[in-house]
């Protein structure tokens, strides 16, 4: 049995005539220790899918099994890194992480917990900023805090919802490496939601495109057969990389085209021209 299983998931928002089916017939299974990326257009229901898996939302129908048990609520076993960092602005970096750690390990002493906070802040190399508030940090630093907060709770699985979407290319690349480093250390299961195909190929073992919503569903999966650790600069010359990348982009372009042509109504414009005031 797979580590995480989604069987025939449907998610419908609203009721009656106003109902929109955001996700339909989602089937996914992730093995333990695997790094899976889901790629999709913005607005295709990626965040809804993530919230179903982390337990913030419940599917309208279908079942989600985590280690064979249905997911009914959020759990410390699944750490979440949110798209918009979601740090509490009134707490410092250390306090933000401490709050999470205290919940995850209620029986540990304060000293042990504080040491844990320090370790994880050091891991994302933010030790000098431990007493700073989120507003004093750059976007990349905030996201590193969010990563540290999720990992400090020692989750078995990390769920990342477009974690690097709002960052510039350089910071993005650095953080990708940092996340991969942490992941490869103890091979936790990871699920990455992204809109960047290159990011997916660089980081994941498998890429699954999400067809755009409404009625979003998962497309065919693409295996990434590139050895780890992957080298970003060498990646461009890797024939395997090129092949996979082209295949995924072609697929996404095709479904993008298909979506456009669905609503192709021709509008006839009335024949009018500006009145001439000269004559």
């Amino acid at each position: 049995m797979a580590y995480l299983e989604l069987n025939n998931i449907y998610k419908i928002y609203g009721e009656g005539d106003g109902a929109t089916e955001v996700l339909s017939d989602i089937n996914l299974s992730i093995e333990e220790g695997e790094f899976v990326a889901i790629v999709g257009f913005t607005g295709s229901g990626k965040t809804t899918l993530v919230n179903l898996i982390n337990g913030l939302l419940k599917p309208t129908s279908g079942e989600i099994l985590f280690k064979g048990e249905p997911i009914i609520d959020t759990s410390h076993e699944r750490g979440v890194i949110f798209q918009n960092y979601s740090l509490l602005p009134w707490l410092t970096v250390g306090q933000n992480i401490y709050m999470a750690v205290k919940e995850a390990f209620p029986n540990e002493s304060k000293r042990v917990l504080q040491q844990r906070v320090k370790d994880y802040v050091a891991m994302v190399s933010l030790s000098p900023a431990i007493n700073k508030r989120p507003k004093e940090l750059s976007g990349g630093m905030r996201q590193r805090v969010a990563v540290a907060r999720a990992l400090a709770m020692n989750p078995e699985m990390i769920i990342m919802d477009e974690p690097l979407g709002a960052l510039d290319a350089l910071t993005r690349g650095n953080l990708q490496d940092e996340i991969l480093n942490i992941w490869s250390k103890d091979k936790r299961t990871a699920l990455l939601i992204t809109n960047d195909v290159d990011e997916g190929i660089y980081m994941a073992d498998r890429i699954i495109p999400l067809k755009p919503g409404p009625n979003a569903t998962l497309g065919p999966e693409f295996k990434i057969d590139i050895e780890r650790p992957r080298d970003k600069t060498a990646l461009n010359d890797n024939p395997n990389y090129k092949k996979t990348r082209n295949a995924i982009i072609e697929y996404l372009m095709d479904i993008g085209e298909a979506r456009k042509s669905v609503s192709q109504t021709e509008y006839i414009l009335p024949e009018i021209s500006p009145k001439s005031f000269v004559a």
């Binding site: 759990s75 979601s86 999470a100 919940e103 995850a104 989120p134």
Partner: protein, 366 residues
């Protein structure tokens, strides 16, 4: 952890003064006096213009009333009486001065006389205390109440009484409105249960609140000869002013950013932790906005309520001076007006400072 947070908050709150200080000092260092002079020059100019217009206006009113008085003496008692009246007014004798809007100089003189009066009364009090010291010791030894000074209050005492009343009322409003606001903000069903109550009582006028409080407190104090004017006025002030805080607190608590709620859920915080670590801190800015409105409303209704409750504050002072109709009564009223305005302004600044200390930008954590 909790304490840690508040301590840091204070540090941060004072830190906002730093750029202001730097700005001020660097301004002079750069020798950029001109722009500073320009700015303050405009303020000084507008004050001077205001005083000038006020002076001219009061002079016009003074002349109108003086002419009327002379005219009246002429038609009723003849030329001789009119001349006498004119001479009397010109001599500045207080018995025949027109009683109208006082000029700025008169108001200034009244302020000084009020301060001088305060010094006299303070000296009186000290002398009285010294004189009664031995007697009072005996009385206390016998288990009786000491004799206290019951002379009239000075203007400064009156101002202090008003400030005391406002803060007592503000505190009462805070103690009632914030906890209730939090509770009804957390529970939608309680919110709808309380809604009619808030909607109906919010627009009730301060005078009616005073009457209601009077009815209740009067009965509670029955048989007690002590002065309950202060109690009545601060309770009325509190009840009038608490609504802004109540509504704002409920709104702040019920509209916490969904991201923060999601964080609380993912971290699996308990209810207590969720309320005190996530919901309350995130609604603090709105709560303090409410408190700021409450304090300014409290100061505004205070004058009317003190007048009704006969509490020894600015409200009663203004009313008594108006009833008094003495020569300098009008200028004393204007002094009180400025004092009320300036204190109200300072209270608002104080709250704004506290508000800036606790507030954060919605996007800071995002």
């Amino acid at each position: 952890m909790e304490q840690d947070i508040t301590l840091k908050k204070e540090g941060q709150g004072l830190a906002f003064l730093k750029p202001m200080l730097v700005k001020l000092t660097s301004k002079f260092q750069q020798g950029d006096l001109i722009s500073w002079l320009k700015k303050s020059g405009i303020t000084i100019l507008s004050i001077a213009l205001f005083l000038g217009l006020w002076h001219l206006g009061s002079k016009a009113l003074y002349n109108k009333e003086a002419n009327y008085k002379i005219e009246k003496a002429l038609t009723e008692q003849g030329q001789e009486a009119a001349d006498a009246e004119r001479a009397c007014i010109a001599s500045g004798d207080s018995s025949c001065q027109p009683n109208t809007l006082p000029a700025p100089s008169q108001v200034w003189a009244s302020l000084q006389s009020l301060i001088a009066d305060h010094k006299v009364i303070t000296a009186d009090k000290a002398a009285f205390a010294q004189k009664m010291e031995a007697t009072n010791e005996k009385l206390i030894a016998q288990g009786k109440d000491a004799i206290v000074y019951t002379g009239r209050a000075s203007f400064i005492d009156i101002v202090l009484t008003s400030i005391k009343t406002v803060f007592a009322g503000f505190l009462l409003a805070l103690l009632i409105a914030v906890p209730i606001g939090i509770i009804i903000g957390l529970s939608p069903s309680l919110r709808s249960a309380f809604n009619w109550f808030i909607q109906i009582f919010k627009p009730v006028s301060p005078v009616v609140w005073y009457l209601l409080v009077f009815m209740i407190v009067k009965t509670l104090y029955i048989g007690d000869s002590s002065d309950n004017a202060f109690v009545i006025s601060f309770i009325s002030v509190g009840l009038c002013a608490m609504w802004a805080t109540l509504v704002n607190t409920a709104m702040g608590v019920s509209s916490v950013d969904k991201d923060y709620i999601n964080v609380a859920k993912v971290l699996k915080l308990g209810t207590f932790q969720k309320v005190f670590k996530v919901i309350l801190p995130s609604s603090l800015p709105l709560i303090f906005t409410g408190l700021r409105i409450t304090l300014s409303v409290a100061w505004m209704v205070l004058i009317a309520i003190e007048l009704l409750a006969q509490s020894q504050g600015l409200g009663l002072f203004v009313w008594e001076e108006f009833q008094n109709g003495a020569n300098d009564s009008n200028s004393k009223i204007i002094v009180a007006m400025f004092v009320i305005g300036i204190i109200g302004f300072l209270l608002d600044r104080l709250m704004l400072m506290v508000q800036n200390m606790v507030s954060f930008n919605k996007n800071e954590g995002v």
